[in-house]
Symmetry: C2
Subunit: 337 residues, 2 copies
């Protein structure tokens, strides 16, 4: 009965997984995140993907101990309401995501912050396992962060670990968040693409957009960046170098403040570019580390794309044994949510 | 028996205090830190200042439950050995400060990091009392920090809270630590004085150095800066504005990462300039706060100059009652250190 489901709600895809009591995946599934409609449509797609993962694992959703969700936006873990999901349409107001999914899947549902649950997964089951304190850095469209101290997530007043919006250059580049000089303004894939487009329009040559079109994409995915780097594209290398310098300064600043044992690098771009670029982040941190004789371990995520969904599943407490008599689902939900 | 002593070892002065079980000062004393000789001479001066504070409180040092020390440099709390005190002469190698003081004062001695103990004091007895998580920012010669999360000090692997060396401008001004773009390179009084001297040599007019000489000083103390600001000195205002911008970006970055409830501003310059400048730090943080609709409280230290010594005293556990039979001093030290 300790089989649990997890759903990672991303801006482009929904990833679901079913794990056993030890957090090992038994089945998984993914689908694109719907960009028509609103939160109810997204919730419906999430249920469908979780059902598919359950089928792959050979269980019914209602047989799961519960389902955890890693969500972007403002997550109220107590009520299961999610609001201000800026990268999904019509999702500013609060939507009762936990309640909706619990009704559709007939099991209890717990919700947490997407990046924090992915960090928890790395801490408990992935690259962070040997360490009691770590910083997760998710290098993708934006740069997200998660913090684990003494083996527990640190979320502050609910909004900690906004590492992408640590300032690396006061008065510097405009960030997608509207502020200036944030790490994400240099290192986020979104900001990097915007800059590549501007420079390309001004006549700067690059293969980035050809590769994008060859692949039938309308944006510079992590795969497009990787391909351009492999081909030695000058602009791609320049923008990645700029991103790495910002990551080095920002992550080193965070380490100067927190003195964690380890930094785990994940996210779409981090996972795609892999260890050689983790090494470059490590090197870019060195000039800014106050205790540079004792740098933290800087490791690539080992759970990869599934990390967010596995971490979401960990939100559901593992059960040691089945209850003597199964309570009704609604009772179970209200007792344990 | 819960009367405790505390010593704050600073680069310019030694501050001692004797407090009651509730942390309230019963007597205090201060003296300049000796800059001739080495650690043994500093320890002797520390004992003398503590004795003076004890006399003011009407107790003998040996009657105290113990004495706590807030020290700069690398502090090994377990052994009481302090090394790498860069702003005091001949103190690179480890010196057994706790043992030396315990012998001289005939009571147990505990040692902690100077800035962290000052932060603990604000958290338990000062401006941070209403909050369970806070960041202490000590704006003086350098910019030091201390972190309290869930009511407990967070020290990482022993070197956390180096807030002064968070990067606010990658590739920017040279910091006294040798790195570039650290907050302290703009906001530390040491760096500010170096810049004032350079600009003054290049012909920039300022009253800063006249005020310094009038006061018989050889460096720009916090009092000198305050006086120059009061007189409307253009260079002083410009350098303080630059410091405030760096503090705003750096402290906001720390808050974006930690999402603490409160920031407490102390340190020589912070205390001297007081609330009007705390307000300016608050304003300078706003453009960089990711959750700017819910900024943390930003408060001036309420314990002031005594905070470090009071926080040091808190390192000694308060006793509820006297032991049935007093153990020998050496036994007490080894049992409780």
């Amino acid at each position: 009965m300790s089989t649990r489901g997890g759903i990672d709600l991303g801006g482009t895809k929904i990833q679901a997984v079913v794990v056993n009591g030890a957090g090992r995946p038994l089945g998984d599934a993914r689908a694109p995140t719907p960009h028509d409609g609103g939160p109810a449509d997204v919730a419906e797609a999430m249920s469908a993907v979780l059902r598919e993962a359950a089928t792959a694992a050979g269980v019914e959703p209602a047989e799961l101990s519960g389902v955890g969700v890693g969500s972007p936006g403002d997550v109220d873990a107590a009520t299961g309401v999610v609001s201000n999901v800026v990268n999904l349409p019509n999702w500013a107001a609060g939507f009762p995501l936990a309640e909706t999914l619990a009704g559709a899947l007939r099991t209890q549902v717990a919700i947490g912050n997407d990046v924090q649950v992915a960090t928890n997964a790395e801490a408990r089951l992935g690259a962070g396992k040997p360490y009691s304190s770590l910083l997760g850095v998710f290098w993708g469209t934006g740069v997200g962060g998660g913090i684990v101290l003494n083996g527990k997530a640190w979320v502050g007043r609910g909004a900690a670990a906004e590492i992408g919006h640590m300032v690396v250059r006061r008065g510097g580049a405009r960030c997608p968040c509207g502020r200036r000089g944030c790490m994400e303004a240099y290192a986020g894939r979104g900001a990097m693409e915007a800059r590549a487009r501007r420079l390309n329009k001004r006549g700067r040559r690059t293969r980035l957009f050809e590769i994008m079109e060859d692949r039938g994409r309308d944006r510079l995915t992590s795969g497009v960046w990787e391909r351009a780097l492999t081909q030695g594209d000058g602009l791609a290398e320049e923008l990645i170098e700029r991103a790495l310098k910002a990551l080095g300064a920002g992550v080193a600043s965070a380490v100067n403040l927190l003195d964690v044992e380890a930094v785990v690098i994940g996210g779409g771009l981090g996972l795609r570019l892999g260890e050689p670029y983790v090494r470059r982040i490590r090197e870019a941190m060195m000039p800014h580390l106050f205790n540079d004789d004792r740098p933290p371990a800087v490791e690539l995520s080992t759970l990869g794309d599934l990390g967010g969904a596995i971490g979401a599943a960990l939100l559901v407490p593992a059960r040691r044994k089945a209850p003597a008599k199964a309570a009704s689902l609604s009772e179970r939900t209200s007792q344990e949510a």
